[in-house]
């Protein structure tokens, strides 16, 4: 199964999104939350994200979804730290909550890495009100 890492500046946000996503997938998931700094404060931690990637990987790659710009920077640093590993890691560009939900459901039904990334991207276009 494709792994998913939730990279947020806030641990609470990452945990909350994790709760929502796993409520929908049930225990059949490989989602890891990576939110906040080591001490629980607001911010992003490349080491935390790196560990989350290693944890989430089941051999089919990992999709990372980030909240704000600098989370992407920390994620890129994390990916550089993992250069010697053979994990395929992709940052998917979509809203963190809706993107993770869509990704989680797709990953749980055996979607490929590209399909999970597509699910995150599709979340950009879903309108809640018409």
């Amino acid at each position: 199964m494709v792994g998913i890492v939730i990279a947020s500046h806030s641990r609470k946000v990452a945990e909350g999104i994790y709760d929502l996503a796993t409520q929908m997938t049930g225990s059949n998931h490989s989602i890891v939350q990576a939110g906040g700094m080591d001490d629980g404060s607001i911010g992003t931690d490349a080491i935390l994200i790196q560990q989350a990637i290693l944890s989430a990987d089941q051999g089919e790659g990992v999709v990372i979804i980030a909240d704000l710009g600098s989370a992407v920077l920390s994620t890129q640093t994390a990916m550089e730290l993992l250069e010697n590993e053979t994990i395929k890691v992709v940052i998917a560009d979509g809203p963190i909550l809706e993107g993770t939900i869509a990704a989680a459901v797709q990953a749980s039904i055996g979607a490929t890495l590209d399909e999970v990334v597509e699910a995150v991207e599709s979340a950009r276009d879903v309108l809640k009100l018409i």
């Binding site: 409520q23 929908m24 939900i101 459901v105 749980s108 039904i109 809640k128």
Partner: protein
Amino acid sequence: MKQGTFKLKNRLGIHARPAAEIVKMSSKYNCKVVFEANGKKAEAKSVLMLIAIGAKKDTEVFLSIEGKDEQLLFEELAEYINKGFYED
């Protein structure tokens, strides 16, 4: 093409959990599955679209399935919907 209209029975309607389940059930078959309610359409392959149609208790939902196994999938989804997504 198999089509049908259902009135939702459970309080929360097509919220997160049943939406995810509908995606999973539909993914087993190679069919085009569309849910329609409140003037909005959602393809059953998109969990976000399914939740976005905002179907709640007593909402009339129109389901249309097209594909080789449409009968089978229709029956499965019909049961799931009529059982109120096994909630309440």
